[in-house]
Symmetry: C2
Subunit: 333 residues, 2 copies
């Protein structure tokens, strides 16, 4: 590795190594999101898909397939599938959260309406299923269908767990698997599976994606209580204002005395928030070591992701995936 | 056939002939809509699935499979798949249409919220895909994935075509295929396919489901301008008030003179409706023979459905499917 390569972010090195494959994925995404009869569809999807997402999930599929020696054409279909599922869930999430901005731009539900976001999301799900059927691999279909169910169940669970102080770390983990890790692990596992990799290699890439996704989400939740808007694409305290039970809050609530508990009931369960409440919440998280503890968990998941890779063949992509796991948690160091 | 049997509705005769299979479908639906961690899911789905829908679509799958001599277990999975897709689209439709009642009961979006309807709909889609993967039949997956895309595209097309007087009969047919016929034809075609039926038989059952679905929807649209609330589960003129471009309106608009066109622009495009406008619209449809012409098309589609069945083996279920097509259009005689 040259000094120049070492200085690049792992994500950019992956993008460079997989540039040809990613071009094919981008072409397929554009071709498959078209609709001859309903021009609203490409309008809405182009708005979101061209909005400069990092294409992290499709890249994981491509990397897993290539790392396992795949030479066929179908990793491109699966990578496009994964991006379509991701985009569909973003469209529906923005309706559910009544969001107005995503990736620094107005959301589709704001530019058009909730109806378009719901129906175009459904269209992308359907297109994703068409794409995933094409390789004719039943094992891959199983992986992606199961991931879809985990994602949807996690979303509903998040809805019902929201603002509920009884939410445990176990429930949090299920929500995180649903909202983030299930698609990461399906991306890497399906890439390995389409390559016909060994059972051990498929399992290793599942574990890598799962642990990477969990680390990624814990970091995201931590940054919400300490990052800058530029670093995280949203404002500090958004989760607090939306009364979300994320890991640092769950940990602080678990250690709360009676007075602190009354505070959490007021700001999270009752949603009565005023000036200084965010600062007080952060002080309580600091007092109980909640941020530190959540940070240690993120680091442990990243280490688990890296450890899983060791059974895979020596390959430049393996090093990049390992560096990616380290990079994801480096944001909180 | 006894006199008693002849007096029964074709739908009830199908239900009796397929009673054991339908029990298995209902069991599978209950088992698969459960969610250990998100109790909101079975609440919402039970509300809708137990609300006394006629289970017409799963019955079509079972009938097609049995008619083609199927003896395996997987027609049950496919029938449950079809009902899940149907239920998911109802949940999302009610959000998009902002409906408050469905099958005489409050809608899920009214009882819970739009968020639950969107996310539980997604969950049912994902469960449907899990179910359809289980038989391990790639041809069936192709049919159902393509139907899902047609449904979603039709829904978006309906959204953008709504209130647009430029909507043609061609566009109307695409919308109808999306909202109704695509799932009918996927139900019958996938039943034939899982039975390993000949190409001709599969094609015949596709054509039957497609034509039956189109006839069904045209009749529904006609009844909206002439049926009673009891017969159609909604009030006369609902489509008019929602400014929908259904077949009788499209036909009347096509023959409108300048004054009539100004009327349609006002009530449909601008949505400025007052007392007497519904009556005037119906008078215009009568004057131009729009109702009669739409009725003739419904009858022709039903006849096409019946004709398609003739290549299939002689079987009591074949007669019931034929009678069902006649019954669907008998509502407008």
């Amino acid at each position: 590795m040259s000094l120049n390569e070492a200085a690049q972010k792992p994500h950019d090195r992956l993008a460079a190594a997989l540039a040809e494959d990613m071009d094919a994925v981008n072409q397929m995404i554009r071709a498959r999101m078209a609709s001859e009869h309903a021009p609203r569809i490409p309008q809405v999807t182009a708005h979101l898909i061209e909005a400069g997402g990092k294409r992290l999930r499709p890249m994981l599929t491509l990397a897993a397939a290539r790392l396992c020696g795949y030479g066929g054409p179908y990793h491109v279909h699966l990578a496009a599938t994964v991006e379509f599922i991701h985009t569909a869930t973003l469209l529906h999430d923005d309706v559910v959260d009544e969001s107005e901005r995503r990736r620094g731009r107005p959301t589709a539900n704001l530019l058009w309406d909730n109806k378009s976001s719901v129906l175009v999301g459904d269209y992308l799900f359907a297109r994703a299923f068409q794409l995933m059927v094409e390789p004719g691999n039943l094992r891959v279909l199983d992986i992606l269908a199961n991931a879809s169910a985990t994602i949807a169940e996690g979303e509903v669970l998040q809805l019902t767990a929201a603002q509920d102080l009884a939410t445990t770390e176990e429930i949090y983990l299920k929500v995180v698997r649903g909202k983030t890790a299930a698609l990461f692990s399906a991306a890497t596992e399906s890439g390995a599976e389409i390559a016909g990799a060994s059972k051990d290699a498929v399992q290793a890439l599942f574990t890598y994606g799962d642990a990477l996704g969990i680390a990624f989400q814990i970091v995201d939740d931590l940054l919400d209580y300490g990052g800058s808007a530029a670093a995280i694409g949203k404002n500090t305290g958004d989760d607090f204002r939306e009364r979300k039970l994320t890991l640092p809050v769950i940990k602080a609530v678990a250690k709360a005395d009676a007075e602190e508990r009354a505070f959490w009931v007021r700001v999270i369960e009752k949603g009565q928030q005023g000036d200084g409440d965010l600062d007080h919440a952060m002080a309580l998280m600091g007092k109980h070591g909640a941020m530190e503890s959540a940070r240690a968990e993120a680091l442990a998941w990243a280490a688990k992701a890296q450890a899983a890779l060791t059974v895979l063949p020596d390959h430049p992509l393996r090093g990049m995936l390992s560096d990616l796991a380290a990079y994801v948690v480096a944001r909180i160091n």
